[in-house]
């Protein structure tokens, strides 16, 4: 009896060939993107999306063409933060036209497909029972469509805002073999860094791309009246973590309530408040990303 290896094909479905086509199409689409950067944390609630939105805008303000993908399929927030929520997206000549932020950043997010605020991401299925068997695959297919089917055009930077958790990193390796690097966001608390360290380990082990550096968000509070800076959390842990993993500390973004207000309004903080401690840090972060890819660091 012939064995699996003796049979030349799978009866005509050519599943491997179809997957290869998916990969080819993805690579073809991303060939015009110079640098792909994943923004990750591992820990939820540290402000990845707000850092992503502001970093993308800061890069845009510095004259770059920038795109952002909200890879948080189930909890999309980038569209709101970048002021594109409710924008109609439509077909172009070779895919779907992304939403466009007021600063010209191209955005693709599941949020643009959902009916309203209350609608969760629910896939049509005969039964939602035991959805764990296929839901993750469905989400990665959606992410692959965002990457492949969006008319990104020529971009200097494509930022990917990853959801919390480390489980998506191995999938990202398959989707993006040409990932340029990762930026890891944390807050100063020990609990946050306990989780973020796991992401750093996984990123260094799995990804064929360097960790560009760590960003400490909500680093301190700057008094709006007197300008005095006070720590929100015990400080020093992030420096220690960066040393431990031999990665750069790219910046410490002070807490500023206007970041949250801007996110809620869909008006980008870094554009409106460039000359504030947080605004300057975000602009400096963009400069460091540029320098990294220009091999200046």
């Amino acid at each position: 009896m012939k064995t699996y290896k003796d049979l030349p094909a799978d009866g005509g479905s050519n599943i491997i060939g179809q997957v290869t086509q998916q990969v080819n199409r993805l690579q073809q689409r991303l060939a015009s993107v110079r640098h792909i950067v994943a923004i990750m944390s591992g820990k939820g609630g540290v402000g990845k999306s707000s850092v992503t939105a502001n970093l993308a805008s800061a890069l845009g303000l510095r004259g770059h063409s920038v795109g952002v993908i909200d890879a948080d399929i189930n909890g999309p927030s980038i569209a709101k933060m970048m002021g594109v929520r409710g924008q109609r997206i439509d077909y172009g000549d070779d895919g779907v036209k992304p939403a466009l932020s007021p600063l010209g950043v191209k955005v693709m997010s599941m949020d643009l497909f959902l009916k309203d605020d209350e609608t969760p991401v629910l896939w049509e299925a005969q039964t939602q029972k035991d959805a764990f068997t296929w839901r993750g695959t469905m989400e990665m297919s959606a992410l692959r469509e965002f990457l492949s089917d969006t008319e990104w055009g020529s971009l200097d930077y494509l930022l990917i805002d990853l959801p919390p958790g480390t489980d998506r990193l191995p999938n990202l390796v398959d989707l993006l073999p040409n990932l340029g690097g990762t930026v890891v966001v944390t807050i100063p608390s020990g609990v946050s860094q306990l989780v973020v360290k796991k992401s750093l380990t996984m990123a260094k082990k799995l990804l064929n791309a360097p960790v560009i550096g760590v960003v400490e968000n909500m680093a301190a509070y700057v008094c709006a009246d007197c300008g005095k800076t006070e720590d929100l959390f015990p400080s020093g842990h992030t420096e220690e973590m960066a040393r431990q993993f031999d990665v750069s500390l790219l910046g410490k973004i002070p807490f500023d309530p206007r970041i949250s207000i801007a996110s809620d309004e869909g008006s980008v903080f870094v554009d409106q408040h460039r000359d504030t401690p947080a605004g300057r840090t975000l602009i400096a972060l963009a400069e460091k990303i540029e320098a990294f890819f220009n091999h200046e660091v």
Binding site: D10, Q27, F113, W123, D149
Partner: protein
């Protein structure tokens, strides 16, 4: 997966798929030598996994549409987005776009299924249909609308379709 005809010691070939029955997709294979056929019934989870992989049984390719998977399987969508007819995505360099997937062939949702357009009122009514039959009802009403030349599905079209279905 590969299938072998034990009688002929020959690789069996994919022949066709049958409409999913209660979420279970059937694929039929045939031996090219003795023409023996067998049906492989996938359980709903296997069927759903196939959908989520975005590949197509039989390897048949249709003209590609962007965001096919998201648009086909996302339960409740923004009615304002991507409602017009989609252009064919270029296949240059990458072969046929994978996002036509199982939708067009195996699940019998034609690629032209971008229209007719649902009005918000009709969509709201559709949402009141129990979830386990909603997908079937949606497909049936869309087919009815297409066959009867409706470019828009309104509450009235739904009522007519319902009468036509004998409900």
């Amino acid at each position: 997966m590969k299938f072998l005809c034990l009688e002929c010691n020959t690789a069996m070939e994919f022949k066709e798929t049958a409409t999913p029955d209660q979420g279970s997709l059937t694929a039929i294979f045939e031996c090219p030598d003795c023409f023996a056929e067998f049906a492989m019934h996938m359980n709903p989870w296997e069927t759903q996994m196939l959908k989520s992989l975005d590949v197509q049984l039989g390897g048949k390719s249709e003209a590609a549409q962007p965001m096919q998977m998201v648009r086909s399987f996302l339960n409740q969508q923004n009615p304002d987005n991507l409602t017009a007819e989609a252009p064919t995505v270029s296949t240059e360099g990458g072969g046929k776009c994978p996002f036509t997937s199982v939708v067009a062939e195996a699940f019998q949702e034609p690629v032209e299924a971008t229209g007719p357009v649902w009005t918000p009122e009709a969509l709201a009514r559709l949402e009141r249909v129990p979830s386990f039959v909603r997908s079937m009802a949606k497909t049936g009403i869309e087919e009815f609308a297409r066959e009867n030349g409706h470019t828009e599905i309104t509450a009235e079209v739904m009522d007519t379709a319902r009468g036509n279905f004998g409900m």
